[in-house]
């Protein structure tokens, strides 16, 4: 595989998806604030979407399935971001902080 035909191989897309997924996991574990964790979760979702699109382009017999799945992932991600951000704003109003260590009294 030459460097000049790299955009036509499945492996580079799967590698990019795994890299984005790993970055997202790293961000979720490392971040101290809820908004930072939400940003990392968006990275994980886009890694999953790249995987679906790569399989759709190279392996699927019906090449609309992966695109439609990616569109639905986008819709779910938008709903998730809206809900999570409103929860974060409510937490900020009650605790004056969006850091995870300040709201530990919410655990069970």
């Amino acid at each position: 595989m030459s460097i000049m035909t790299i955009s036509n191989s499945l492996d580079i897309y799967l590698l990019m998806a795994a890299l984005l997924f790993g970055m997202g996991i790293y961000g979720i574990v490392q971040r101290q604030t809820f908004i930072g964790m939400l940003i990392a979760a968006e990275l994980i979702l886009s890694g999953a979407s790249i995987n679906f699109m790569a399989f759709n382009r190279f392996l699927a017999p019906d090449p609309t399935v992966g695109q439609i799945f990616t569109l639905f992932i986008m819709g779910i991600a938008a709903a998730e971001a809206a809900i999570a951000l409103s929860i974060i704003i409510v937490v900020y109003r009650n605790y004056r902080s969006i850091e995870t260590v300040d709201v530990v009294e919410l655990n069970g």
């Binding site: 460097i3 000049m4 035909t5 790299i6 955009s7 897309y13 799967l14 990019m16 795994a18 984005l20 997924f21 790993g22 970055m23 997202g24 996991i25 790293y26 961000g27 574990v29 490392q30 604030t33 908004i35 930072g36 940003i39 990392a40 968006e42 990275l43 886009s46 790249i50 699109m53 790569a54 382009r57 190279f58 392996l59 699927a60 017999p61 090449p63 609309t64 695109q67 439609i68 990616t70 569109l71 986008m74 819709g75 991600a77 938008a78 709903a79 998730e80 971001a81 809206a82 951000l85 409103s86 929860i87 974060i88 704003i89 409510v90 109003r93 009650n94 902080s97 969006i98 850091e99």
Partner: protein, 179 residues
């Protein structure tokens, strides 16, 4: 061997640039101390992901990625940062010194596992394609095969909008003491 100065070679160069943009955006999004910089890094990463979708033969999904993620989700997160106004200096002092290395190890483990799995599997190309995956084909399958899911996701979005409005309103101190 494709020449660098042909159209294919230039397209490969652009592809490598897109990958660099995506990785840079992801690194900024996960590592910057200020959250507003993390959001701009996230927008950069999503622009790169849209370019990757374009190289995967679906300009429609690339356009949707720009419209929904860069245009809507990143702006919403930026608004939430403006409303919540987090202080970056406060977080740095209370961090466990082992947290950075441990999270890097966890992320690297996931990346290694997934990429090893992708490299070791023998992927089978399909014998035949049912359609060309164009926008017309996407529209047809959305309104025939996937019409139920299409309706359900509109219901999910409606419930999410109403739920986030209710959540943000009840916490606003309406009818009780302002702090």
């Amino acid at each position: 061997m494709v020449s660098l100065y042909s159209a294919e070679g230039l397209s490969e160069l652009v592809f490598l640039g897109i990958i660099a943009v995506t990785v840079t955006g992801g690194v900024i999004a996960t590592n910057s101390a200020r959250l507003i910089r993390a959001v701009t890094g996230l927008a950069l990463c999503f622009i790169g992901v849209a370019g990757i979708y374009y190289y995967l033969n679906s300009p429609f999904v690339a356009l949707m990625e720009m419209l929904i993620y860069v245009g809507a989700v990143c702006v919403t997160i930026a608004f939430a940062i403006m409303l919540a106004d987090p202080d970056p200096d406060d977080a740095a002092g209370r961090k466990n010194p082992l947290a950075g290395a441990a999270s890097l190890a966890v992320g690297a483990l996931f990346f290694w596992g997934l990429s090893a799995l992708a490299a070791k599997t023998m992927w089978q190309a399909p014998a035949a394609r049912l359609n060309n995956g164009s926008m017309v084909a996407i529209g047809k399958s959305l309104l025939t095969t996937y019409s139920m899911v299409f309706e359900l996701i509109s219901l999910v979005l409606l419930v999410a909008i109403i739920g986030s409005l209710v959540l943000a309103r009840t916490g606003s101190g309406f009818g009780r003491r302002k702090s």
